[in-house]
């Protein structure tokens, strides 16, 4: 049972990664690793910034 649950969690994590759901976690990781003095953006601020940057930097989707 535990292995099934673990497998499902792994899959959910992978799927989340593909969808880009872990972007904030990665940002925090980077923020910490690069030794910034200032506090990181909050989750809300980060996602706001995330989509607002796409406004001026659009990415194509393929046919």
């Amino acid at each position: 049972m535990n292995t099934i649950l673990e497998g499902f969690r792994g899959f959910a994590r992978y799927f989340g990664g593909v969808m880009g759901a872990d972007a904030y976690a990665k940002y925090l990781e980077h923020h910490e690793a690069s030794g910034h003095e200032d506090a990181p953006m909050s989750e809300r601020e980060f996602w706001r910034d995330h989509t607002d940057r796409q406004d001026s930097n659009p990415q194509g989707r393929c046919c």
């Binding site: 989340g16 990664g17 759901a21 996602w47 940057r53 406004d55």
Partner: protein, 766 residues
């Protein structure tokens, strides 16, 4: 440089002059160890590859040589998967060894430009899924369906062999070269490598090609939704669903991407089921039964609004929904085909394979089959993605082979699945659905009579059969539902109902398929409009600097209106075309996409000439030559062919003459207005072909010149000017393929033992 315990240097690559941090383990598996691992053929390894080759060989034999009554779909799966494995294991390694030569000691942009936002090191398996979701869309689902007119074998061979030798090569090379240049776009690379003339021609061609591609994708949606209240309702509902998701993510629960995607998915299913109920009601049928012109106008207005709305409100949430559906649907389709294993009755080569007057698309097998199937075999559009987000996320240089080459193999597999789904339906039904209304007459009686009169072996359909199929999938009519999407939807419904639900579920599966195709296409339309708008703004900005300010509203709105207007015109032309729309315009879509591939491969050739020996340039030259010959031949036939069905100008002349002779109907055009529309449309289509082919020839010639110059310099020993970013030593390690090799595992273990404070790289620029 890392040392072995006995003091010997650990790596043999020293010419890169990178000085790694001595406190860290090596950032790359020793070349010699890698080489030894590759050269070592254990009995187990030999047995596995012998089995793969044997299975692949048998499958190809079953598909191509055996001429039974039917062929089982499972052979398509085996033939493609075995060929992909061989191509990936052997051919892509040749490219890696002689052209790209990745160096894991070098940091990737995701490492040296890391910002936690755009440049983020991403796990290779996750990035594989991410890249695949970005490149695959409705294209590989539509082209193979239309090409099935010629029989299953020509399309199957082109999809499988084409991807191994051309499509995946292009994606891999563009990804690698862009990664070495900090994630620069194809346009910027073209400018750098080919100079001002080549670069400008590439830019204009790219812009025009995007307009055509967006227009024809939109045409596919319009054709699928015309006179279909169920489809219009459920696809229309995706807009409020996406808006809701956008608000949810922005204000209610920011960052809960998976949660909102699940909610969106449930709502989407409800919209499909609800669509069936609404279409049954009198008011629903009255309100949502729209003709194609209305839908086209709706799409144009929608396209404009969607492209100027903020990304968070519509584009981003729909993108999540689209990615979510994409992965799910493709896994589902593959599973269903493997479980159901439908018998295929379509012949390997149909009667139309040797003719040029096929009703679905006109023209001979060469070159038109190769442009009809673009996505799935060789798609130039991918070059824009491979030089966009993906290169900024790559963790290690060696992973580009898995992501670039491997990702494209996956798309090819999707194309094969789509082909199988489309040819699993009755052949008469296929022609009744995919031939323009001008030929079928639009009713079940006329369509059945017309299809039976084609004289196709084993085809004999009745009006009742057509009516019953329409009833099963919950549509008013399925006659002349051109564009590929409805045929795929019927095929998918046909397979899925044997898997889950039976005939009662067919209508659901049909609209489920239409829904996801529409979702992919709408995302591509709206993202494509935005990208094109920015390209236009930057181009105008060279003359009027104000336009370069992306936040300047009037400029943004004007450029959006221009781009939407451009694709809108082509879309309306296709929708109102008396000749049928898809069959005149789809070749233009394929030609545009392949010309973009020729442009991308030209840039790759010019770059490769500076870094590889002449001996191995054929790896790039081969797909380039093929794409160039196919598209230029196709363009020339479209421009110069005297056969009216093939040549735009020949058709134009025929209709102009008929008008001049005072005829009031000619061929499939029944009124003077329709005849005038044909004259106008063929003129536009003809000139578009001329512009495309001229621009592409300019790009190819400038690339040849750049290549020749690079080779001459190499012979004379003159150093090349290199446009790569300067090499920075890497401070991290990750394996290159899905399954790490023993040496890679060892190195990963070594890295895992590293104290945490050393493992995370400190970026220098903060």
């Amino acid at each position: 440089m890392g040392k072995m315990p006995d003091g010997k240097a650990r790596t043999v690559i020293t010419e890169d002059a990178l000085v790694p941090d001595p406190k860290l383990p090596p950032t790359s598996v020793d070349e010699a160890v890698l080489e030894a691992e590759e050269r070592k053929w254990t009995p187990a390894k030999i047995a596995i590859w012998a089995a793969i080759s044997l299975l692949g060989g048998v499958s190809w034999f079953m598909l191509a040589i055996i001429r039974g009554e039917t062929v089982n779909a499972i052979w398509f799966v085996f033939a493609s998967v075995c060929t992909y494995l061989i191509g990936y294991r052997f051919y892509s390694k040749v490219i890696e060894r002689y052209i790209t030569r990745p160096n894991d000691r070098r940091a990737t942009p995701a490492e040296y430009k890391a910002d936690g936002k755009d440049y983020v090191r991403t796990d290779r398996n996750v990035l594989f899924g991410h890249h695949f979701a970005a490149i695959a869309g409705a294209g590989p689902l539509v082209g193979p369906v239309i090409a099935a007119q010629m029989g299953y074998l020509p399309g199957t061979i082109w999809i499988i062999i084409g991807v191994v030798l051309a499509g995946a090569v292009q994606d891999y090379l563009v990804l690698f070269f862009s990664m070495r240049r900090g994630g620069r776009s194809l346009g910027q690379m073209a400018r750098e490598e080919l100079g001002v003339i080549g670069g400008t021609a590439a830019l204009i061609a790219t812009l025009l090609i995007m307009v055509i591609i967006v227009a024809i994708l939109a045409l596919v949606v319009v054709n699928a939704l015309g006179e279909s209240p169920w489809g219009v309702f459920s696809v229309g509902m995706t807009i409020p669903i996406a808006l809701f998701m956008g608000v949810y993510l922005r204000f209610l629960r920011p960052g809960k991407v998976m949660e909102v995607s699940l909610i969106g998915f449930v709502l989407l299913m409800a919209a499909i089921i609800g669509g069936g109920i609404v279409a049954e009601t009198e008011w629903g049928a009255a309100f949502f039964t729209l003709d194609k012109v209305t839908i086209a106008w709706g799409l144009i207005v929608y396209g404009f609004i969607a492209a100027i709305l903020p990304v968070w409100l519509l584009l981003a949430p729909r993108d999540y929904l689209s990615t979510f559906m994409k992965i799910g649907v493709i896994v589902m389709l593959a599973l269903a085909i493997i479980v159901v294993r439908p018998e295929i009755t379509v012949p390997a080569f149909s009667e139309f394979a040797s003719r040029e007057n096929g009703p679905v698309f006109p023209g001979a097998l060469f070159p038109f089959l190769f442009v009809t199937i673009a996505c799935g075999a060789l798609s130039g559009f991918h070059a824009l993605i491979s030089s966009g987000t993906t290169p900024k996320l790559i963790e290690k240089e060696r992973q580009t082979r898995l992501i670039g080459y491997g990702g494209m193999l996956m798309e090819s597999f999707v194309a094969i699945m789509a082909l199988v789904a489309a040819i699993s339906i009755d052949r008469g039904l296929y022609f009744a659905m995919n031939s323009p209304a001008a030929l079928t007459g639009g009713t079940v009686q006329t369509a059945a009579t017309w299809v039976n009169s084609l004289g196709l072996a084993g085809v004999n359909i009745t009006p009742d059969f057509l009516a019953e199929t329409a009833r099963n999938v919950g549509e008013e009519s399925i006659v002349s539902r051109t564009g590929g999407a409805p045929t795929l939807a019927v095929g998918l419904a046909h397979i899925m109902q044997q898997f889950i639900g039976g005939t009662a579920m067919m209508a659901f599966w049909y609209h489920f398929a239409i829904m996801f195709e529409a979702l992919f296409i709408l995302t591509a339309v709206d993202a494509g409009t935005r990208v094109a708008r920015f390209m236009l703004q930057d181009s105008i900005g060279n003359f009027i600097p104000k336009f370069k300010e992306h936040s300047w509203r009037p400029g943004a709105w004007l450029c959006t209106a221009v781009m939407v207007g451009a694709w809108g015109l082509v879309l309306l032309m296709g929708v109102t075309d008396p000749l049928g729309g898809i069959n005149t315009l789809f070749p233009l879509f394929g030609i545009a996409n392949q010309l973009l591939a020729a442009i991308a491969l030209s840039v790759c050739l010019a770059i490769a000439a500076r870094r590889a020996s002449f001996k191995y340039l054929w790896i790039v030259a081969l797909p380039l030559a093929f794409a160039a010959v196919v598209t230029i031949t196709a363009s020339f036939q479209k421009i110069f062919s005297p056969v009216p069905a093939v040549g735009y100008f020949a058709n134009n002349a025929a209709f102009s003459k008929a008008l001049a002779d005072g005829k009031t109907e000619f061929g499939t055009a029944k009124t003077v207005a329709a005849m005038e529309a044909v004259v106008r449309n063929t003129m536009i289509q003809g000139w578009l072909s001329v512009i495309f082919v001229v621009l592409s020839i300019i790009v190819i010639i400038t690339a040849m010149v750049a290549t020749a110059k690079a080779l001459r310099n190499a012979r004379q020993g003159i150093a090349h000017t290199d446009h790569e970013d300067p090499a920075v030593p890497s401070r991290a390690y990750a394996p290159s393929g899905f399954i790490p090799t023993p040496a890679e595992r060892e190195l990963v273990a070594e890295w895992n033992k590293l104290p945490a404070d050393l493992r995370l790289e400190k970026s220098a620029h903060h």
